[in-house]
Structure formats: C-alpha cells, structure tokens
Amino acid sequence: MSGPAGPVDPADGAGPPPVATADVEDVELDVLLEAIQRVYGYDFRNYARASLRRRLWRRVTAEGRSSLSGLLEEVLHDPGAMERLRVDLSVTVTSMFRDPPFFLALREQVVPLLATYPFVRIWVAGCASGEEVYSLAILLREEGLGDRVRIYATDVSDEILERARAGRVPLDKMRTYSSNYLAGGGRDGLSRYYEVEGRWARMDPSLRDGVVFARHNLATDGTFNEFHLILCRNVLIYFDRILQQRVHQLFDDSLVPLGLLALGARESLVGSHLQATYETVDAEVRIYRRSGT
C-alpha cells in the first residue's frame, strides 16, 4: 500500500514503529468491503487482496484521509466518493490484439475447430472497452467465419460497456495495435478497419454486427448460454482463489462438450478443481479444451 509516510527515522538500523499493524489493517479492510457490499451491493470481498489494497490506499490518499476506516466513513455517507472508489477499483487496461501470439494461435489452432460448427457462439467475459472484441471480430472476418458467429461481450461495468459499444480507440495507440495485429497473423493492415475521427479511430460499425454487449457480473451472475469458445483474459487475476473457482465452474457450465477456454498470458487452470477435465490445446498461450462429456 502507499499510505502517507509514517515518521521516518534516520538510517540507524532500527525501523520506525509501524503506523498500523497489518492485522489491524486487515480488519479495516474486511469491514470496508463488507459495508460496501451491504450498502451499495458492490461485492469486492473475493477480489485479490494485494492489488485491491493498493488501489484502496490510492483513494484514501486522494480523498485526504489517512486510513481505510477514514475512507469507509466517507464512502458510507457520500455516494460520490463510492463512485470514485468504484472506478479506482476496476482495472480496465486493455489493448487491441493484446499478446499477439495468442491471436496467432486463435487463427491457426482454434479457427479450424470452430469452422466445424454451423454456427458459433463466443463469450468474451470481462471485455472492458472492447478492444479485444473488435480484434476478435476482425480475425474471424479474415478467416471467413464472420457471418457465422455471435459474440457475447460482457463486463460488470456499464460505463465501460458504453465505451465498448461506441467502438472508439485512441488514435495514438493505433501504431502499436497495427504491429500487434501483424504479429498476430493479420492479413490486410489494420487501417482497413477504422476511420480517423479527430484523435480517435472509429472501428468499422459492421464489425459489431454479430456482437451483443451486455452486463454480466462474474462474481454473482449465472450462466446464460452455451458457448463454443470463452475468452476471459486478465480478469481472473483480480479475483482470489475462491472466486476463481466459482468462475471456472461457471465457464464449465457454459461450454459445450469440447468447448474451448482462453485465459490470459500468465493465467492457467493449474491448481483449479477443473484442471483434470480440461486438456491443454496450447500451453504457451493458455488455451484449454473441455472434455467431451
């Protein structure tokens, strides 16, 4: 955490007394999350603690407070402060063709499997501002699957879904995204798929034709369809192991037999209760396949 600096002794070998012990802070943290859940219905109780704590402390400092309890008092009595905290707590960092080797594997290993179905349903869980969805839509179009696919793109945040629907990407990022696209096996040049609008690249609206953007909370909501492929990249790292297990189960319930699950570059099913029922399609880029039964 990055709380206010405690008094710092000169470098005499003895550290300063801790301002609050880690144990006390843990209690404050539990109380804060419990209260937010009960008052506002936002459930962060099973989010990974270390990064959650860090982002909470950022808000403590920004609100001019000095402890998690101080922040609690503020958010309980001021919905505006809760709103600011909620924004801080969601990490929505994303990019187009993030981790190009993954997109290359999608083209070379996954598309041939999907092509065996007459109609394909894909779930992008935790789609953030949509860059991943547009990347996927471009890839599927180039591989000739475009009109046979429906993509369900979900996220917990309404604001971020609004941005995803708008399909506007900061223009200054497009250079990096173009090279990602090419490294991911892109065939044409990314500029074919957008128009410049001031400082924005507006993605070709027809890419959205087979896409449904909808709100879905992985921590609380259930399954809503059967999918041939689920992408959930860089979302589960924000959850603790209990919530990760819940979501793995949710995905398991939402995949057709032999359905595919794609996780982020440093995420895996290792240690999950479902590990045994999945085979690894590509260990390097974290693509798994559910067993046939």
């Binding site: 710092v8 000169p10 990974a48 704590r53 080797p101 589960l236 790292i237 924000y238």
Partner: protein, 193 residues
C-alpha cells in the same frame, strides 16, 4: 513442502540484470526463504528467467498468477505485469504502470511489506528511475529491512540514491558486499519474527 517464513525482494532497473545476477550467484539464504524480483524491461516475451538462472544454484522462474510461494525459489515478474506478494502466494496485475514501469518495484515492495512485515528484506539495486522509493517506505513502515546498493558502485546511481536520500536505507553496501549483507539481514528477519 514447508512454508516460506521470510522473503527477499529485489528491485533493479538499468544495469539490474547484471547486478542481480552477481548478487544471486553468491547469495546463500536460509532454507525457509524465497526471493521475488522485479527488473524493468521491455514488455516483450523474453527468457529473463532463463538468463538469470544461469550460474545461480537454484531455480528461477517467471511468476504465474496465484503461484504458491515455495522455499528456495526465485520468482521474476513477467513482462508487462505487476508482481504482487500475498501471504502464501504471488499474484499478478495489469493495472497502470507506476513511475512509467510495469512491472514496478514499488508495487512488489508495498504488497510484500503488507504480507511479510518484519520478515521481509528489500534490496534496491542500480537504476535510473525513482521506482522503489515508495516501496522502501512501506517496507520500513511495516518493520522490514531495506538494503541499498551503494550508488557509487551502481551502473546508474539514481534509483539507489533516491532511497538513501529519503532516509530509508538500513544498510548501504557496495555490490560485492551485498550477498553477505543480505544473507545476514534475512537471517535476522527470521529471528525477530
């Protein structure tokens, strides 16, 4: 598998690969300690773990999300992810870069300070940024130990100097003395717990 009772965290930037290699190579830690490492680098896949592992007597591996901490191991942050320490395991995050860096040394040190308190030893090596200073403050605040490479022996003195200037260094030592200094501090970190 026994639990990790004390943790060494190391941060390095410009020149950090060579420096951390020379430290790790000569370092002997108690059997109940593990090491986590953040080195600033380009956000591309690379064989850093492999490069670092050469000549070091213990396994070096790139951290995975929720990987359990095991004694005797060295974990490095993967490119483009922050590495965080929880009480018995590691986690990753893609939140914003801190001081232009992802992975950031501050993020590793702050989370490790919460999880290990006085059982933590942090080392700041060569580098040209100020990443690590806020982290060192958190380590001290939780009762951990901060060791800094003597800036005069650093390829880039800015990073270690920043910690020294902030008054956060428990020990400042030249690169060649670091392995012995660190080993002593980790030994003590276990005793005070």
């Amino acid at each position: 598998m026994s639990a990790v009772r004390r943790l060494l965290v190391v941060g390095g930037s410009w020149g950090g690969i060579t420096a951390s290699q020379s430290v790790l190579r000569a370092l002997e830690l108690p059997a109940d300690a593990a090491t986590a490492l953040v080195l600033h680098r380009q956000p591309i896949r690379s064989a850093l773990a492999e490069v670092l592992g050469r000549g070091i007597g213990c396994p070096v591996e790139e951290a995975e999300d929720k990987m359990p901490l095991a004694p005797g191991r060295v974990y490095v942050a993967p490119p483009d992810y922050h590495l965080l320490v929880e009480s018995g395991w590691l986690s990753l995050s893609t939140e914003e870069p801190v001081k232009y860096s992802r992975p950031a040394i501050d993020v590793l040190l702050e989370s490790a300070a919460d999880a290990f308190g006085p059982r933590l030893v942090a080392v700041i090596l060569t580098g040209a940024s100020t990443d690590g200073t806020d982290g060192a403050r958190a380590v001290r605040r939780r009762g951990g130990t901060v060791i800094v490479q003597d800036p005069r022996t650093a390829e880039q003195p800015v990073m270690p100097q920043s910690v020294v200037t902030a008054g956060l260094a428990d020990v400042v030592a030249p690169l060649r003395d670091l392995p012995a200094v660190i080993a002593r501090a980790v030994d003590r970190a276990g005793a005070s717990a």
